[in-house]
């Protein structure tokens, strides 16, 4: 096969790698948020409700950034 075709195929395969890397980022980020939230709730159980809502909002924001990567991978894989 032509070099260009091979490179295009590799490019599309790398999109899968990119999506996986984005998932790692999301996992680490949200994991840290969850961990800190649980620790904080253990230290001060009265604030558990506040901490829980803040944790969910922060998780949504961090996931937004990770999904940036997913969108780019999708655009590469399907376009």
């Amino acid at each position: 096969m032509e070099l260009l075709t091979i490179l295009l195929e590799i490019g599309q395969g790398l999109a899968g790698l990119g999506a996986g890397a984005a998932a790692i980022g999301a996992g680490i980020g949200v994991g840290r948020i969850g961990g800190s939230a649980v620790e904080a709730m253990a230290r001060q159980p009265e604030a558990a409700g506040d901490i829980r809502s803040t944790m969910i909002v922060a998780a949504a924001l961090v996931e937004g950034v990770a999904l940036f990567g997913v969108i780019v991978s999708l655009l590469v894989a399907l376009g």
Binding site: I56, V57, A60, E63, G64, V65, L67, F68, I71
Partner: protein, 388 residues
């Protein structure tokens, strides 16, 4: 059963909506449902296709195309299996003016290119999944009698536009009836639908708008409420299975408009403190300003862009996950060959899919909440007081 005002209004309008859809689908059954031209899709590549989507097309479909079909926009609504509900196609063809017709005019129901001879001069093609020469799937192109390519401006009522109009109707009906019920029962506790809406509206006013914006919160409340309920209802609509797979908030076209509105309102309402903070942050030495000001200017535009991508990506990713779990069943059963494996995977896959659906319900509300919260924060930023 005691029905509130909103439910009664919806019941009055429901027959109109439902019969509009079914009338359309009846005409779809008449036009070109020709079993002859189903085996003519020359574009199915030899993809070792393991799809088991044995509808009237008898065409193997890969999981990738199955997923993209359900996320992308379309010119008809593919309901419950075989029913295709056509939608109006509104085109401005170069040199031939505005054309309006139903999408059932395009021949065939397959996944390949569908053609329609608009007149002797103009041939329209609705491109299918593997279109020739660089066209996008689902787009419409036109050639004239000599084979020259004509410019087409596509203003059709597509599936997403129809969903948008539906959400619009639901929201207008819902909130008009809520407002009327407050006027009719002054000073008394709300009842029924108003009770439910009041929970959300008061939550948005007291937990989102007032802490972020402060005194002027009421000025921005209409926009914040509209945006919240629009995103929430659109997300929920996209989750309902079997009605054709609406993906309104998952399209960049819709979210960019929402983000631009937030940007426009922030820019218009920015007071002197806000612009000072962007261009010349007070209390900062000159050499730091040289770095900080460009970053702030980039941030001005980047914040709405991130709003847009966050919403689109979350909703689309949710749809893709659910569709991927569904297609897992078909992939593993190798097109109906190994029913045993298929059923086993089916149990596991359905359980995961239900879990993902619960998560998606949470995400539907959460993304609406996050969008509204960030919009409120940006508005509050724009109206900030000098705090020294």
């Amino acid at each position: 059963m005691k029905l509130g005002r909103f439910s009664k209004q919806l019941m009055k309008l429901a027959p109109i909506f439902v019969s509009a859809l079914f009338v359309g689908s009846v005409s779809a059954q008449d036009h070109g449902h020709d079993h002859g031209d189903h085996h003519d899709s020359p574009n199915t590549e030899a993809h070792a296709a393991h799809g088991a989507h044995h509808d009237h097309d008898a065409e193997p479909i890969t999981a990738g195309t199955f997923i993209t079909n359900h996320i992308a926009d379309a010119h008809d609504i593919h309901w419950l299996g075989d029913v295709h509900i056509p939608l109006p196609v509104i085109l401005n063809v170069e040199g031939h003016g505005l054309q309006v017709f139903m999408s059932s005019a395009f021949e065939g129901h397959g996944h390949g290119d569908r053609k329609f001879a608009l007149s002797e001069e103009v041939l329209l093609t609705l491109h299918g999944e593997h279109p020739a020469d660089g066209q996008n799937p689902g787009s419409i192109s036109a050639v004239d009698a000599n084979g020259n390519h004509l410019e087409v401006l596509d203003l059709s009522i597509t599936k997403s536009v129809f969903g948008l109009l539906f959400i619009l109707t639901v929201m207008v009906l819902l909130f008009r009836s809520v407002a009327k019920s407050y006027a009719k029962r002054p000073g008394r506790a709300p009842q029924g639908m108003s009770n439910l809406m009041e929970t959300l509206i008061v939550f948005l006013r007291d937990e989102v708008a007032k802490p972020s914006i402060g005194k002027e919160a009421d000025r921005f409340m209409p926009f914040l409420l509209t945006v919240f309920f629009f995103i929430f209802f659109s997300n929920l609509l996209g989750l309902i299975p079997f009605i054709g797979g609406f993906n309104i908030t998952g399209t960049l076209g819709v979210t960019i408009v929402l983000a631009s509105l937030v940007f426009a309102i922030t820019t218009i309402n920015g007071n002197k403190e806000y612009w000072m903070h962007v261009f010349a942050m007070p209390g900062v030495p000159k050499w730091v300003l040289a770095i900080l000001t460009p970053i702030e200017i980039i941030g001005l535009f980047l914040k709405p862009i991130v709003l847009m991508i966050r919403l689109t990506a979350n909703i689309t990713a949710g749809h893709i996950i659910i569709l991927a779990f569904t297609s897992l069943i078909f992939i593993f059963s190798k097109g109906g060959e190994s029913i045993g494996v298929g059923s086993g995977i089916g149990v596991f896959s359905t359980a995961f899919m239900i879990f993902m659906y619960m998560l998606e319900l949470l995400v539907a509300f959460l993304q609406a909440y996050v969008f509204t919260l960030l919009a409120a924060l940006y508005f509050g930023d724009a109206r900030q007081e000098a705090h020294h």
